[in-house]
């Protein structure tokens, strides 16, 4: 299924959707990615992975929460040369 670009990310509902790749055999699937939350999905996946309304509530994210995700490992200070 070569689908058109969806309007929002299934996970965070941002509109920053990009085409990551088309299937090597033309017209079978498209991989999309969200530039905000970095979720990626294939157009042929079950609807719970492609449709924002079907996406499981437990995995949904808000763009404003991304900055609060824990950082690991921490970034060390630069050494003085």
């Amino acid at each position: 299924m070569e689908s058109s670009r969806p309007p929002v990310c299934p996970r965070c509902r941002s509109t920053t959707i990009e085409v990551r790749s088309h299937s090597p055999v033309a017209g079978v699937w498209t991989v999309f990615g969200c530039a905000t939350c970095l979720y990626a999905w294939r157009s042929t996946e079950p609807e719970e992975n492609t449709d924002p309304d079907q996406y499981p509530a437990v995995f949904r994210l808000k763009p404003e929460d991304l900055a609060d995700l824990p950082v690991a490992p921490s970034i060390p200070p630069r050494r003085r040369r």
Binding site: S23, P24, W29, T44, L61, L69, P70, V71, P73, R78
Partner: protein, 478 residues
């Protein structure tokens, strides 16, 4: 013992041993591949590896899963007979582990150098990437060996690192990698970032089976995984240097070369993890891939991670038992065997001789003070030397009759634990428990253990005689 040089060579062996299943129907990347691998794990402990070569959207992609996903496959990976018992696999694994270090055989060319992509790298094109579990944030490389060197000690081979870290493919050549602070690559990255430099990495996908086991093994920082793989294989490990000077297995299917970007962290996850729960999301380091090399018609190897048991539990089995046994045995030579097979050794069963009352509890405490104990071992069951810790029927017998909870259960409050253990409260902290299921001996006089049953005379002889007769009976029925 026979060593395999490549994934292909091992797959041939699995096929010859009826341990490789070829699926000939056309399959979808989702949900077929993960569903098939998950189903295989439900079919028992002798499941074959599974090979797909008709994948929707690709001309000629090939995917293999469950390569390590059974005790017969695990035995074959070590060059043993596929019927080798779990207990015998343990003792052989420990014996070879203690042969460290083996040697390196550095050669100048490898089959994976045949095809090279240096411009417009698109991993979605080059590899049949797919989602494993519905809540995963994307498609993951979850069985690849990531190789790095210490930027502060670049030419020291012994601190070169080969590790299996989960890697999320976010863009055509952009990856996220989980390098928690306890991982050796995190030391390399910290040194690179302190210098303000990117960290060069090589990511090897589709490897012979032993380096995959070793990449998941908690060996010391200054122990080189290739030298451990050589010890386990019984011959020098064959590898090739990349242009950046990173050693890569000769037998890999794909080699991705790139850089962990200094000072960058991006959203990563969630990913369904080994405890049977999702990891949640984090801001993790980022890799950019500059170059991909691969064999002609490469085979993509992936491991399904789900609620235990899955292939992952076989990968984390002996690789956890052996270091734990060696470390505890150094302090307590009375220890006979260690079973840390369950959920990466969150539960550990130790069999030991006991010298005096209370001895087993000390053995249990030693388990909790090993490196594995700091982050994984949470429940330790100690049994007598004549109880096989790999035979859960025997372990349950010991628990049933040797334990008086009044004096045999120790709860140790607020010890350190892996963040991924969902029982933690708060994250990284948990109570731990030692259960002493050994027979009390002096001066511990609790219970009445004077009249244990044994077997009737001639039982051993009858077992041999009847075993042969039963074999004949089954042959006659075929």
């Amino acid at each position: 013992m026979s060593a395999f040089q490549s994934l292909r060579e091992f797959l041939q062996r699995l096929e010859a041993e009826q341990q490789l299943l070829r699926v000939t129907e056309e399959v979808s990347l989702e949900p077929d591949l993960a569903a098939a691998a998950c189903a295989l794990a439900q079919l028992g402990e002798t499941s074959p590896a599974i090979h797909f070569d008709r994948i929707k959207g690709y001309q000629n992609a090939r995917v293999v899963m469950n390569v390590h996903g059974s005790w017969p496959n695990h035995a074959l990976a070590l060059g043993l007979d596929k019927h080798t018992s779990l207990r015998d696999q343990f003792f052989e694994f420990v014996r070879r582990y203690q042969q460290y270090p083996g040697g390196l055989e550095r050669v100048t060319s490898a089959p994976w150098q045949e095809l090279v992509v240096e411009r417009d790298v698109n991993l979605f094109d080059l590899m049949p990437l797919f989602r494993l579990n519905r809540g995963d944030g994307g498609f993951y490389l979850d069985k690849a060996c990531t190789v790095s060197r210490d930027p502060d000690d670049w030419d020291n081979d012994d601190v070169e690192n080969v590790g299996i870290y989960r890697i999320q493919v976010k863009g055509r050549n952009r990856l996220g990698i989980q390098t928690v602070p306890q991982h050796d690559i995190a030391i390399h990255l910290a040194h690179a970032e302190a210098r303000g430099e990117d960290l060069p990495v090589a990511i090897a996908v589709g490897n012979e089976p032993v380096i995959t086991l070793v990449g998941a093994m908690p060996i010391l920082y200054d122990q080189l995984e290739y030298k451990m793989a050589a010890a386990l294989q019984g011959q020098p490990y064959r590898c090739v240097k990349t242009g950046k000077g990173l050693d890569v297995p000769w037998g890999s299917e794909y080699v991705l070369e790139g850089r962990v970007l200094a000072g960058q962290r991006e959203p990563e996850g969630p990913f369904g993890e080994f405890p049977g729960y999702y990891s949640g999301g984090h801001r993790y380091p980022v890799i950019e891939i500059d170059r991909v090399s691969h064999c002609k018609d490469p085979i993509y190897d992936s491991v399904y991670v789900g609620k235990p048991w899955t292939e992952l539990d076989f990968l984390q089995a002996m690789t956890t038992c052996a270091p734990l046994y060696v470390q505890v045995h150094e302090s307590f030579p009375e220890v006979v065997a260690v079973n840390a097979l369950y959920t990466h050794g969150l539960v550990v069963i130790v069999s030991t001789k006991t010298r005096f009352g209370g001895f087993a509890k000390s053995v249990g405490m030693r388990v909790l003070t090993t490196p594995h104990g700091l982050g994984y071992a949470k429940i330790v069951i100690v049994v007598d030397a004549d109880v096989d810790p790999f035979d859960l029927k025997q372990v349950m017998w010991a628990l049933s009759v040797k334990v008086n909870p009044a004096g045999d259960v120790l709860i140790l409050p607020n010890l350190s634990e892996n963040l991924l253990d969902p029982a933690c409260q708060p994250g990284g902290m948990v109570h731990k428990m030692i259960i002493d299921a050994t027979t009390p001996i002096a001066p511990d006089s609790r219970g009445d253990y004077g009249q244990e049953l044994d077997t009737p005379p001639q039982t051993d002889a009858w077992r041999q005689k009847l075993g042969a007769l039963m074999n004949d009976l089954q042959k006659g029925a075929r």
